[in-house]
Amino acid sequence: MPSLDRLPQINRTALLTRPVEVHHDTPFAPLAVPLSEARLAIVTTAGLHLKGDRPFTAEDGSFRVIPSSAGEAELVQSHTSIGFERASQARDINVVFPIDRLRELVERGALGAVAANHYSLLGAQQDSTRPAAVSGTELAKRLLGEADVVLLTPT
């Protein structure tokens, strides 16, 4: 997003006054395998899921599983915010969920593999800690077994 000092006042104020967790330390783990051998999973807050899967509701802390075999045509978005434009996502899901780009990296040998599953959560919640509180432990357990690298993407 353009830096806050270039946004209209109303947008700048909304973002600056939004509660954000402040962390004073940062866990850091080096990559255990070469990237060319690593499995990568996307964790997105774009509110995406498979058609027929349960839509996200307001202040929903749960997650959805998106198998890496799923194609763009199998996905929908039930995000509760309208603060982002959606026409670009309708044209090209890779603007928010770069599944095709990752597959290309694997084909080129730059990335080992796409992980078995990607995961989706609902962003832009009033309580930004809710998704981690509700789903963090289960997601971490799954990702530790399925991926060497996790790409966290907003929307």
Partner: protein, 218 residues
Amino acid sequence: MSISLVREHTEKLRPSRALYVPFPFGLPFGRAGDVDEQHRVLREALDLLREPSGPVLRDYDGPYEDSGPGGALQASQIDASDPEIDVANEVTLMRRYYEQWLEREGKSTVGVSGVPPVRFRGIVRFLEAVAGGQQDADHRERPADVDVWTFLRLCVDDLKAMYLEARLVTGPPNELPEDTARWFWGETALGALLRRLRDRLDESDDPALKRLAFGIAR
């Protein structure tokens, strides 16, 4: 590693590795169809894995033309009009263009409500009933485990998605998102209905309905 759209927030969160990108909300990997740009964002994000320690917060180094708002243009920023067409008839017209999109692209973001587009006229009548103040407005295809207000939002989302995809067929090629928003909120009967719906929901003292109103049009 993570992609950051609000640098000030990421500075407080201190994730182990983050790439700040100057793109609008909704586009963390850049423009639709711009494969080179999307790959560049990915490459710069993956390069963060080379760092021996963290936290690391780096700015995207690729070319970027800063234009337009940082997020979606909203209804309140666009002059309203009152198109002389019945909303249900407009929806039927849009569905024909939507079906062209579906045939051409083989994909669609429509589908969260579970109601097939051929029955979206019924959704319109549902929304009109709510906007008109009918207390017991409901839709016969609402799943039993979905409350009426959640279902209403999902119906609105599906209608918006169908209109967007219809516009991708009828509108100018590579139309800017803000121009699409001006068309939707300024020229369509559905946009006018959603404004009325928002106003009706916002009259409520229930904070949940006020939030719903804010999530339909703002």
